[in-house]
Symmetry: C2
Subunit: 210 residues, 2 copies
DNA sequence: TGCAAAAAGTTGCAAATGCAACATTTGATA
DNA sequence: TATCAAATGTTGCATTTGCAACTTTTTGCA
């Protein structure tokens, strides 16, 4: 996975930080970052660690909007409406985040320097990757039954891992949140899939027979 | 909405076309573009017209993955796994699409020219907008009931249109496909919302009371 | 290695949803 | 303006799902 400052020297990285009025902030586990950021114009890049973007609606239900890891980007420009008051950005580990002022991408002075172009290209690559990730999630979420959501996700993994034997990158509880269904209902559906001989499954190891 | 070639002269646009091995293709209504594109390395930009990205699974169910309009971008880099065989890209009108070779963004020779930077910045702006759109759709799709999907979507529109009186940008049938629920079940839920005094609705005009 | 917390798995039941098969209204156009 | 297609709206019913309340298993770590 590409890093935002890949192929950029430390010196030039510091220059970029100046251009973008960037600052790196260290958060401990379990902090809501949103209280620390300028909601209107800044983009956060995760240097190390990981965060969850969680929305809580009026009756207290929590939905996992997004989960971000190293090199992922978040911010009001990307989430716009989503990043409203009901939203929290919670660190899952000790996490370092670099905030840059998005507006400066458009009117930077050092615009013709090599490292500026490298930076923008890196940014582009990261965003493309995130786009792809989001499209895959939408592909799952638009399926109407838990069964089809699971099968779609398994097929995606199978393609990525190049095999009919796949390993889930996270726990089943986590998978349920990711595909946005009730955990127990999901496990029940997995049981049915096993009974019908569509899959074999033991915790995170799954073999597809379809 | 930003155009990919905003602030770029016709002459420079032509240079960019050369750099990116770009070509513009005219499609009539109802064509599946996917047959005409290099699936691995090209990005399509819609100059005029609109397209639907539709997935058909084994039992013939069609899901609307995405619907793109002028200036939107699509391509294998973005959709990766989604753009597999079950996927079709169908023109809804007469549509002009410019294909560029994505790899050339990274190793272009004219990299320091003004218009190249402008181009990349335009691309960035367009992608940010699409990201935001996708996040909003995920926000809706992760809601577990039709009611919450509707309320979430209405709230988004209300924020965008700056009013509690909103106008749907498309038909109700279309809305059902967008939030990926059964149309009749959705209309039933809208009826309940009206009965409970949460909203007023007449075709595309909706007033929120919550 | 033992213990507490997280994850996995089960089940009954009420509520929500999809589906099918209609009737009615709206809108485009010949 | 007559006509046909698309969109809207309605309803019954079977299926799917979420939810709650459990038990059992796994895992991290003191």
């Amino acid at each position: 996975m590409k890093n935002l400052f890949e192929n950029i020297s430390l010196k030039n990285k510091e220059k970029l930080f100046k251009i973008f009025r960037a600052s790196t902030v260290k958060f401990t586990k379990g902090i809501n970052i949103i209280d620390y950021m300028d909601r209107t114009n800044s983009i956060g890049i995760i240097d190390t660690g990981s965060i969850d973007i969680i929305q809580t609606d009026y009756d207290g239900n929590e939905t996992l909007i997004d989960e971000l890891k190293e090199n992922d980007i978040f911010g009001s420009t990307i989430y716009s409406i989503v990043l409203s008051d009901e939203c929290s950005i919670i660190t899952k580990d000790n996490t370092n985040v670099t905030f840059i002022d998005y507006r400066e991408i458009e009117n930077a002075e050092f615009i013709k320097s090599d490292f500026y172009i490298t930076f923008v290209q890196n940014l582009l690559a990261i965003i493309f990757e995130q786009m792809s990730f989001k499209n895959k999630r939408i592909d799952i979420l638009t399926k109407k039954t838990i069964r089809n959501k699971l099968l779609t996700y398994f097929k995606q993994l199978s393609k990525e891992q190049g095999s009919k034997s796949i390993t889930l990158p996270f726990s089943l509880s986590h998978l349920a949140r990711f595909i946005s269904v009730d955990r127990s209902a999901m496990i029940r559906e997995i049981k049915y899939l096993k009974e019908e001989g569509m899959i074999d499954q033991k915790t995170k190891k799954i073999r597809l027979y379809y």
